[in-house]
């Protein structure tokens, strides 16, 4: 027996991780080029945009590949397994992973354009910020595409650690380092809780591969599943931290308020996409038969998030804190779709996609009005904004109405989708709570719009936003309106995105 016969190499499907490779290598190249050639910041920004666009192109190629795979016949079964589960089934190439990449890359591109002023202000450290942004996107994309719990954990940490640094990247203001330490301490506790959940799941089921866990659970009847159940609960709690669901939300408003204005929209959106992608993958792939156990837990977290987020947001005088608490409420709305199990995957992805675009756009407006490198954004700065900066006021109105879920915006279709799924899954009480919470939520969005259009302007002039900021805000508003009127194509795209 020769050496080559003993050692069979694992199946390597580079196309399955091509977007991640592009982002990771791109981040390294940006740092190297910056050290060696000291390029202009505009060039660095354009290079970063090109890297994100290349990764997006690879994601489209992957989408095409997934479409081909879904029509594979029986005699192509071996080929299917090799393509869909490369790297010894640690990575999966399915519609769920590809939709996660679409959402993540769209948010990265929008966040980069909307927060460009921050990178200009960072001066010589602009390359660091850009590289960290690309690295965190890489990590969160791995969360959407891995079928192994250790891989999910590594993706989570790659993404989160980069975000901790980004939260404190400005040296000028003390609120920024306060946000960084709060995010870091609570984030690492969340990671520890999650990985302890992974360890207990491993102890209870004998595997960390989600597909194997599902197989083991389907074959055996557990007489004492306590260790496994605690493991599932801890993993849900860990992800609850990351997506800022109540009662694990306490970091979110502080970080959203204190972190540099230009990056906070991306931070909030990226963590939500990564957290929910992993939550969907773990719960729906490994534990679909345990839905009667984790369903009530997720429903409880969802109800608490919606009620607490909506009511506390009412009394906030800082727009960023308000958006932070509204993010808690939105995490609850998305979890309302998660309780429906595998049937609700499409609606959850749809909600996640449209909400994160609105979130990045809204924080882009906040950064344009109150500064991309500063902390905090009092509501006073927005009084009479319609007279001082009509474009910013108009886009902010569209995005806030989208978050509120007004009909003819994407937010309405998204809310309607997750509520329908939860109702059909038998969680009528949760839907009633959710509708109540959306009504409460309407008031604080309206309060900002009234301040912008009905109140006397303050004297402060708003610096006209740059071309990249205007383009990204226009795109985010356009997506919100167009998807609200013609939701069909995105609904069917998200509907395909269930995990294998």
């Amino acid at each position: 027996m020769t050496f080559a016969q003993v050692l069979t190499p694992p199946s390597v499907g580079w196309i399955a991780i091509a977007p991640e490779i592009v982002l990771g290598v791109g981040a390294a190249l940006i740092l190297l080029f910056d050290v060696q050639y000291k390029p202009k910041r505009t060039h660095l920004g354009l290079a970063t945009a090109a890297i994100v666009a290349t990764a997006f192109a690879f994601a489209i190629v992957q989408y095409d590949r997934v479409q081909t795979l879904s029509q594979a016949t029986a005699d192509q079964a071996a080929d299917f397994v090799a393509t869909a589960f490369p790297f010894d089934a640690m990575i999966v190439l399915d519609a769920n992973a590809v939709f996660g990449r679409f959402a993540m890359l769209l948010v990265t591109g929008l966040g980069l354009a909307a927060g460009w002023r921050l990178f200009e202000r960072l001066g010589a450290r602009a390359a660091e910020g850009l590289a960290l942004m690309l690295l965190s996107a890489t990590g969160f994309m791995f969360m959407a595409s891995s079928t192994h719990l250790m891989m999910v954990f590594l993706g989570l940490e790659v993404g989160s650690i980069a975000l901790y640094v980004l939260a404190g990247i400005t040296r000028e203001r003390t609120e920024s380092d306060e946000a960084a330490i709060k995010y870091f301490l609570l984030g690492s506790v969340a990671s520890a809780v999650f990985i302890y959940g992974v360890a207990l799941t491993y102890a209870g089921s004998g595997s960390m591969n989600l597909l194997e866990i599902q197989g083991v659970l389907a074959r055996n009847i557990f007489t004492r599943p306590a260790v496994l159940l605690i493991g599932i609960a801890l993993m849900v709690v860990g992800m609850g931290f990351k997506v800022s669901a109540a009662p694990f939300h306490s970091w979110a408003p502080d970080v959203y308020q204190g972190a540099p204005g230009g990056i906070v929209g991306y931070m909030a959106a990226a963590a939500k996409i990564g957290g929910f992608a992993a939550l969907i993958r773990i719960l729906f792939t490994a534990f679909p038969d345990f839905i009667s156990t984790w369903g009530p837990l997720v429903a409880g977290i969802a109800a608490l998030s919606m009620l607490l987020g909506s009511t506390v947001a009412l009394v906030q005088d800082d727009i960023r804190r308000m958006l932070g608490y509204s993010g808690v409420a939105h995490a609850g709305f998305i979890l309302t779709g998660v309780v429906a199990g595998g049937a609700g995957t499409g609606e959850v992805w749809f909600y996640l996609g449209v909400y994160t675009v609105q979130l990045v756009g809204a924080f882009g407006v906040v950064a344009a009005v109150t500064g991309a490198a500063t902390s905090g954004a009092g509501i006073d700065a927005f009084r009479g904004l319609s007279k001082r900066a009509p474009f910013l006021a108009a886009t902010f109105t569209v995005l806030l109405l989208g978050m509120a879920g007004l009909p003819l915006t994407s937010g309405f279709v998204a809310k309607f989708g997750v509520f329908t799924e939860a109702w059909q899954a038998g969680y009528e009480w949760l839907v009633i709570v959710a509708v109540l919470a959306s009504v409460i939520a309407f008031f604080f969005y309206l309060r900002v719009i009234v301040a912008m259009y009905m109140e006397e302007p303050v004297d402060e002039a708003v610096a006209p936003p740059g071309i990249s900021v205007r383009a990204s805000l226009a795109l985010a508003s356009l997506i919100t309106i167009v998807i609200g009127i013609v939701p069909g194509p995105l609904l069917s795209l998200a509907g395909e995105a269930s995990p294998l």
């Binding site: 954990f153 301490l185 690492s188 990671s191 360890a199 491993y202 102890a203 004998g206 800082d318």
Partner: protein, 102 residues
């Protein structure tokens, strides 16, 4: 002679993890809180090793390496943030970090 089974190790790990979590909740020095996170991660490592040994599969042992590497990366970033705060405020107490609230 009592036989020490995997359950004992899992219980010890659970106790260590709880001590770490409790420390996060009651201590107010950022460095100590950070050490409590490390304690939690080591409880996770103990769980992995004990479970891997009891199940007779290597995955649990290998997982420890990954957790260690992640913990080291967290130390790098965490200590840098704590040092940056200490330089500006001459204190590592999180009680003084109360500008952001509401």
């Amino acid at each position: 002679m009592i036989e020490v089974t995997a359950g004992w190790y899992l219980s010890l790990a659970a106790v260590l993890f709880s001590i770490g979590l409790l420390g996060i909740l009651v201590r107010r020095n950022a460095l100590i809180m950070f050490m409590c996170v490390e304690l939690m991660l080591n409880a996770v490592n103990l769980t992995f090793v004990a479970a891997g040994r009891a199940l007779g599969n290597l995955e649990g042992q290998v997982a420890v390496f990954f957790v260690l590497v992640v913990a080291a990366a967290e130390v790098v970033v965490g200590l840098a943030i704590i040092v940056a705060i200490f330089r500006r405020r001459e204190s590592a107490s999180v009680d003084e970090l109360a500008t952001l609230r509401g």
